[in-house]
Symmetry: C2
Subunit: 375 residues, 2 copies
C-alpha cells in the first residue's frame, strides 16, 4: 500500500470560496455579523450557508486527486484543507474557528464519500496573538467526531510576519498535551504570506520548514513530550541539503546527534520535485523518519520537460532509486505513516491491499492497472 501523507483539498468546489469571501466581506462590513454561518448551523441573516453538493465534491476529485492516485499507483492520501487558504491572519479567532469548521467538515465529507482514498487531517483555528489552546476544541471535534488522524499546525499564523513564539515555547504546551492524549501528530505547515518578501510556495513554506527544524534542534521539547510527533513537509525545507551544517551546529551547541534528536518525533515528507533531491533526502535522513508525500494537487502543477512527467509525481523518483531495499520502501510508503498517524490503522486496513506490501517498488503494474481498467 502507498500512503501519500501530504495532500490538500486545493480543488474544492467554488462554494467554499464563496462562503469565505462572504465571511471576509462581513468582516469589512461593520454592520454585518462576523462569521455569518455558525459552526454547523444555517446562514445568518447577512451571509450564505456553505452550499456544496456531494456531486460537486465528486467532480472536484475525480479529475484531479483520484485520477492522479490511479495514474501514479498510490492508494490513500492523508487529506487536509488547502494550506494556503487557512490564512489565519484574517479576522480574529472566531473568524478562524468558523472557517476551520467549514473546511474540516468538507474534508470529512470527502473522506466519507471516498473512505478508501482519503483520511482526514484538520485545520486548526489559530489566530495571531491568541493562545494556541483555543484550538483544542476544534482538534477534539475533528478527531473524535470527524475521524481525523492529525492536524496541520501553523508556526506563523501572522502570515509571514513571524510574531508568534517558537514552536518550543510553553504557550503551545496545552495543545501538545491534547495531541499526545489523542495520539495525533501535526504537520508543520504555514499558510499564505502577506509579507511581500516571501513568496508562499517558493519561500515561506520552505523557510517555515527550516525554521521549525532549528527550533526543535535547540530546545528540549521532546524531553517534555516524548510522544509528540511533527511532520516537517516539503522534504524538510533546507534541512537535508544542509544536514552537515545541522549536525555541526548540534555538536557545537552540545545538543544530541540529529538522528537521536528526531528519532521518535520529527519526520520529513518526500515533497521534493526532482530525482537528485529525493536521492539526497533518502541517503541522508534515517529512513524511519521519512514519509512518502507528493502534495498533489499543489504548489507545482506542471509537467517537467526534462522527464515528461509531473514534477510532483514523487513516486517516480523514489522508484528510480535502485539502492532502496524492499524493507525501506515498505517503511517509506506505508509503515512510517501508520506509525506517525496511528489512528489511520482503524480506518485503513492493511488487509485490503494484502500481498502488495512487498511490491511497492515494483512499478505501477498489478493491482493499480487492474484498478484503472475497472473504472
Amino acid at each position: 500500500m502507498i500512503i501519500d501523507c501530504h495532500g490538500h483539498y486545493t480543488t474544492a468546489p467554488k462554494g467554499l470560496q464563496v462562503w469565505r469571501d462572504a465571511q471576509i466581506a462581513a468582516l469589512k462590513d461593520a454592520t454585518g455579523p462576523q462569521g455569518t454561518a455558525g459552526p454547523k448551523g444555517p446562514a445568518g441573516p447577512n451571509g450564505p450557508a456553505l452550499q456544496i453538493t456531494d456531486e460537486e465534491i465528486r467532480q472536484s476529485l475525480e479529475g484531479a486527486q483520484l485520477k492522479f492516485q490511479r495514474e501514479r499507483g498510490t492508494d490513500v492520501t492523508i487529506f487536509s484543507p488547502r494550506a494556503s487558504a487557512m490564512a489565519h491572519h484574517v479576522g480574529d479567532a472566531t473568524t478562524s474557528l468558523h472557517w476551520s469548521e467549514h473546511c474540516n467538515d468538507l474534508i470529512h465529507r470527502v473522506c466519507t464519500l471516498y473512505p478508501d482514498n482519503f483520511v482526514g487531517v484538520c485545520q486548526l483555528p489559530q489566530s495571531p496573538g491568541v493562545p494556541p489552546d483555543t484550538c483544542i476544541g476544534e482538534l477534539e471535534r475533528s478527531v473524535n467526531e470527524l475521524g481525523m488522524i492529525g492536524c496541520n499546525l501553523n508556526p506563523d499564523p501572522s502570515g509571514g510576519h513571524w510574531t508568534s513564539p517558537p514552536l518550543t515555547d510553553r504557550c503551545w504546551y496545552p495543545l501538545y498535551e491534547k495531541m499526545v492524549e489523542l495520539d495525533v501528530p501535526a504537520m508543520v505547515h504555514v499558510s499564505s504570506s502577506c509579507n511581500a518578501n516571501f513568496h508562499a510556495t517558493g519561500a515561506h513554506y520552505l523557510n517555515a520548514d527550516t525554521t521549525a527544524f532549528m527550533q526543535f534542534l535547540t530546545a528540549d521539547l521532546f524531553k517534555d513530550f516524548p510522544a509528540l510527533r511533527f511532520i516537517i513537509p516539503h522534504g524538510g525545507g533546507a534541512v537535508p541539503y544542509h544536514w552537515g551544517r545541522y549536525r555541526g551546529l548540534a555538536q557545537d551547541m552540545k545538543r544530541p546527534p540529529l538522528a537521536d534528536l528526531i528519532r521518535h518525533n520529527v519526520f520529513f515528507d518526500t515533497c521534493v520535485y526532482h530525482l537528485a533531491g529525493i536521492e539526497l533526502l533518502l541517503k541522508i535522513v534515517p529512513i524511519d523518519n521519512v514519509l512518502f508525500g507528493s502534495e498533489m494537487v499543489g504548489a507545482v502543477r506542471g509537467i517537467d520537460p526534462e522527464t515528461g512527467h509531473y514534477f510532483d509525481d514523487t513516486r517516480r523518483y523514489i522508484d528510480q532509486i535502485a539502492w532502496l531495499t524492499d524493507a525501506d520502501r515498505q517503511k517509506l510508503y506505508e509503515d512510517n505513516a501508520r506509525r506517525v498517524y496511528p489512528r489511520m490503522n482503524a480506518l485503513v486496513g492493511r488487509g485490503r491491499q494484502a500481498g502488495q506490501a512487498g511490491q511497492v517498488g515494483a512499478g505501477q503494474a498489478g493491482r493499480h492497472e487492474a484498478h484503472v481498467r475497472s473504472e
Copy 2:
C-alpha cells in the same frame, strides 16, 4: 589558485567589540553622543577610539583563517566584516554608518597586511526603514579608497522581522546602479536575528538565501540591470535541493528557465557542509554559477566525527567528486570568482600561482606544502 569567496572576520581582536559595546551603550545613554567615534576620527568625549594594533590583527588571523588556508590548500579569501555582527537593526542609520566604517577600515587593514591572502568586501550601513541609497557613500569609499571588490547586502536589516521591501523593489535601484557602475557584486547576507523564531545560522541565514532567490525568480530585476550580480551564500539556501520545485514554479508562472534566469546574475557558493549536499549542488546548478566558498571561520566550527575533518573544509568534499572535470574545477575555484568579482583581477594576479591552474583538483600537494614548510 583557489579563491574562497566567503569569509568573515569572525576572529577580530576584542577592541572591535569594545568599540561596538561603547557605541551601543552610548545609544542607551541619552546624555551621550550617538556613535561616539566619527567616521575616521578620534573618540568623542564619551567614547573610545577603535584601538587595535597590527600585531593583534596578525594574531587574530595566524591561528585561524591563515592557518586554515595553509592546511586546506586555499589561496585567497574574499573577506568581509562578521555578518552576524552587522546588526543593522541596532540604532539608526548613523549608528550603522559609523559601525560599518570601522568594520570596513579594519578589513582594509587586514588586506593591507596580507595582500596575498585577503581581498576585501564591505559591510553596508543599512538601517530598517531607511532608503538603501544612503549606503552609496560607504560603498564608494570602500571600493574607491579601500580597494574593496564587493559588498554584503542585507535583505532584512530589521534582523528577522522582514520589514523592508523585497530586493526587487525599486527602492534598491539607486544602490544597484552604483554597484553596476563600480562593477561590484553583492553577497546577499543577513545578520543576526532578533526574532525568537529564527536561529541566526540555522534558520535566518538559509531562509534569507531561499527568499532572495524566489524574489529574483519572480521579478524582472535583471532585465533592468543585466550586469547586476548577486552571490547567494550557504549553497543557495534550500534552492538547489528544491531545484525541481523552482523549475516547476518558474514554468507555472511563465518565467524563464532557471538556468537562463540566473546565468549572468545569480551565483551560489559551496558553503554546504557535507559531501552529499555539495554533490547535489554541483550536479544540479550550472557550474558557471557556483563559486567556491567555505565561510571559515564561521557558523560551524567543529570536526565532523564521521570524517575526522572540519565540517567547513568544503574543499575536501569538492575534491572527492570524481566526475568534476579539470575545467569545472578551474571555474569553481578561480575563474567564476574572477568573473563575478572582476576588481579582484587588479589585486590578485594569476601569475603568482602560474602553472597551478590545471592542478586545483590534485589534492593539497605541491605549492601549498612548500608554502607551509616555508612558514
